[in-house]
């Protein structure tokens, strides 16, 4: 039974069409990559899943309908969203940013354990924990953002463009961490523009173009395909 | 481009005819006085709506222009003994000039910042008027302004005439390319610039036009009250005007007039409740604000007009 099932998802921003009927699934513990050019609707897809933007179509998670839930309930269900552009709380410390990820949780021990887990994934955050988030480098901020989402102990992590604007060295570290998170059993829906990095870590890939899924398959099956090149450069 | 429809014109004519005819039916000077005040507020509300309703910049200091207009009339009349007729053009002029001066620094601001800047400007003026009492009469204001016309009834007609002029000018401007541009500024300033429109110029000009009529209204009011006081600069006056426009329905200009007439008459008719007067007024206001967020007069008229127009449409369709 898939963890997340999306069927015929349609999203409008006012009059602009962002998604024109997207269907995809994520199995438990799976890392699914969504690729596509700018404006293809990747970010919208994630926002629709976390109920931050209204959408029509079927959205079910662990066999429960997400449709009628407000955004904060979805988090409680176990979907945590690490948004595009990181969206840290700039004037709060790293530790507070992380702890806000666990806002809905009451299990002190569990939270402490998850904090250790995040520090384990990104050791630099332990050193930076009392620093204001806005003083961190882009890569470190991305780590906080991922860590913050993990603090909600998700069974599905939504990751939006974790590699944008980050130095290559840190990018590697982040992708390594993403793989570790998957390996520890958390399913991930990863949206990326950096196709090669995403394909290197994902179990399955969807290619989104103009709000529609145009291709899907394993990275291996898509790697030789011209379709990726098609989607990106139109040639 | 929206045109003024025949139904609108007919309704406006009827309303003005009724307003003009009221004094002929043996009403007392009290009623005429109340109506005169109503008409002054209507001029202020319409001029507020022209600038703020069209460009979307809520001016919380409209009383600045009213006060300047009123005091111009007061000074010319009481201090320098000018013929009261001079008050009207002079008040319009000083208010317009003051709009240019205050408009440049404040119109860059948006939303509540513009509102507050104007509010502060009017309050500063109010304090100054009180402090420099030797010149301005302080808290008591300037008393002994001459009436422009001896008969209260004639004076009421005069103010009504100026309301008509105000409305015709403002409505004509609102329906002209000017209005189109002002409404476009409300929509999006950047797009306006991208369409080659000098946004700063139009904003200042709108404020000046708004101020000219507010100042004129201030002078008319001064010559009705036969007195001006620092309360003409008060924030509460600006807020009352905004409430009137809000109740009337923003951006339509005639709605503002309707709101001004309605609320002024309401205030007066609540006299029967003596000390509960303001309490009831506030309660009614809260109900309107809460349940009719688009206002009362303009939306109601739109609905009535549609209903009136519908049979004719049907007929036309039938003929076709």
């Amino acid at each position: 039974m898939p963890l997340l099932e999306i069927e015929g998802l349609v999203v409008h921003y006012g009059k602009a069409i962002a998604l024109e009927g997207v269907t995809l699934t994520v199995e438990p513990g799976e890392l699914v990559g969504v690729l596509g050019p700018n404006g293809a609707g990747k970010t919208t897809l994630l926002k629709a899943v976390s109920r931050v933007v209204p959408a029509s179509g079927r959205l079910s998670f662990k066999n429960r309908d997400l449709g009628p839930m407000p955004a904060h309930k979805v988090v409680g269900e176990g979907i945590c969203h690490c948004p595009e552009g990181r969206r840290l709380f700039p004037e709060l410390t790293v530790l507070k940013n992380l702890m806000l990820g666990a806002y809905l949780r009451d299990d002190k021990d569990g939270i402490a354990a998850d904090l250790e887990r995040v520090y384990g994934l990104f050791p630099v955050l332990r050193e930076r924990r009392t620093q204001q988030a806005s003083t961190l480098s882009g890569g470190e901020q991305q780590m906080v953002a991922i860590g913050r989402a993990l603090m909600g102990r998700p069974s599905l992590l939504l990751l939006d463009e974790p590699s944008v604007g980050i130095a290559h060295r840190l990018k590697n570290e982040i992708f390594r961490a993403i793989r570790d998170i998957r390996d520890s059993g958390t399913a991930i829906l990863l949206v990326e523009q950096d196709a090669r990095s995403a394909m290197a870590v994902a179990d399955r890939i969807y290619v989104l173009e103009h709000g529609r899924v145009t291709h899907e398959g394993t990275p291996a099956s898509l790697a030789d395909d011209d379709s990726i090149r098609q989607a990106y450069l139109g040639v | 481009m929206p045109k003024i429809s025949k139904i609108d014109l007919a309704a406006a004519s009827i309303v003005f005819a009724v307003l003009a005819a009221i004094p002929l039916f043996g009403v007392t000077t009290y009623t005429i006085g109340v109506l005169t005040v109503c008409v002054c507020f209507a001029i202020w509300a319409a001029s507020w709506d022209f600038m703020s309703g069209l460009t979307g910049r809520e001016n919380f200091g409209h009383s600045l222009f009213i006060g300047i207009g009123g005091y111009t009339a007061g000074f010319l009349n009481v201090e320098f003994g000018f013929d009261p007729w001079w008050s009207l053009p002079a008040a319009a002029l000083t208010a317009g000039v003051s709009a240019i001066l205050i408009g440049f620094p404040t119109l860059r601001l948006r939303g509540p910042y513009f509102a507050l800047a104007m509010l502060s400007a009017s309050t500063v003026m109010q304090y100054l008027v009180i402090i420099f009492s030797q010149v301005t009469g302080g808290q008591d204001g300037l008393n002994g302004i001459f009436p422009i016309l001896d008969s209260q009834r004639d004076y009421y007609w005069l103010t009504l005439f100026f309301l008509l002029v105000t409305l015709m000018v403002l409505k004509a401007l609102a329906l002209s390319p000017w209005g189109t541009i002002l409404r476009a500024i409300r929509g999006d300033e950047a797009t306006c610039q991208a369409a080659g429109i000098n946004v700063t110029f139009y904003k200042i000009a709108a404020l000046v036009i708004s101020a000219v009529f507010a100042g004129l209204g201030g002078a008319l009011y001064a010559h009705y009250q036969l007195q001006v006081g620092p309360d003409l600069f008060a924030v509460i006056l600006s807020i009352n005007i905004i409430i009137m426009v809000y109740v009337g329905g923003m951006g339509s200009i005639y709605g503002a007039v309707g709101g001004a007439l309605l609320l002024n008459i309401l205030t007066e008719s609540l006299r029967a409740f003596s000390e509960y007067r303001l309490w009831i007024y506030t309660l009614l206001l809260m109900l309107i604000l809460f349940f009719l967020p688009n206002g009362l007069i303009a939306p109601a008229w739109t609905r009535i007009r549609d209903r009136l127009a519908r049979p004719r449409e049907k007929k036309r369709q039938a003929i076709a």
């Binding site: - | 009290y30 808290q139 204001g141 009250q225 006299r271």
Partner: protein
Amino acid sequence: MKRRTILGAGLAAALLAGAAPSAFAQADKPILIGVNTALQLQVGRDAVNAVKMAIDEINEKGGVLGRKLEMVTADEGEAATEGPKVGIAAVNKLTGDNKVDVLIGGYDSGVTLAELPHISRAKTIFLGIGSASPAIQAKVKENYDQYKYIFRVNPINSAKQAQGLLDFISGKLAGELGYKKISIIGENAKWVQDMVPMLKKGAIDAGLEVPMAEFFDPQTADFSPIFSKVKENGSQYLLVILSHAASDVFVKQWYDAKVPVPIGGIDVKSQDANFFERVGGKSISEVTTNFVLRAPLTPKTVPWWDKFVKLYGTPPVYTASGAYDAVYIYKEAVERAKTTKTDDVIKALEKTDYVGVRGRVVFDELHEVKDGPGYVNELFVQWQEGGKRVVVWPKELAAGNKMINPPWLQ
């Protein structure tokens, strides 16, 4: 059709009524007294109550010229927020719609001044009971024909109050107490702004040093800078003039900071009988001018005071005595004129010589209530232990009463 007939009949009746001799038509109609005042404020409510009290008394004794008296009220609104607009509409309503025979009222000088041209246009007598600006009665001199309708029963105008104040400064402060240095402060109201320079000059002429003469905004919430400055400049007395400002803030802050300078002057709120109680006794030793208090100023004073308290549960504020007297003054004038015709009543009013609850009321040529010994007096009253009010000036009325200092200066 039917409606037109009724209308026609009504019109005819109205014409007939208008054409009939007025005395005949009015014979059994009540005489209407319009009260224009700020109904939400204590000054307004007490004025209304006092008028009602007087009317009831007169009607019980058969009315005036066989006609009953009746009261109509109209709210002047809150001057601070609504300006004179509501006040003007109020007098227009009373004169235009209710066609009252006389207006009694007024509280805020600004509003009253604004109402004057409208009152005079309506040719209705106005007996002022609350506003103190001399500019009001000055109109009578400026243009008698236009403003002859305007009389002031109460209070004594502020210029005359200033004279009294000067007398207090030179006689009591400089004379009896031998002070050398006083400070003067007043709120930003026109009449105070006119008065303070005059007081300063008068005090200096009386040989006093005046290191400070300042104004403050009626909304001032913190007087500590003033107290501090007064203490620093070594003043021995702080003269204060306020009517719309927060008197309670003033005395509370003075008392709490134990300012080593006694205070006194014109403090309109402090004229209220329950002021001492309202501020928790912190007005102790404050001196303020007053025109009436529960003391045998005239034989009528104490009974009137007690009856008012019995009827309405609160001691009357300063407008009440004026309003009560005004009704009787009007009644007497009508009786002397034997008509309610405005011009005749004005003639009669000008000859008024009536002993009211505050003293003997006589109008001068400005239609201003005469003050001084034998007339209505400006009393300097001090709050003493237990909220007792003691007259400390003028000398002849103080009857040897001692002026006390605040507890921390004793």
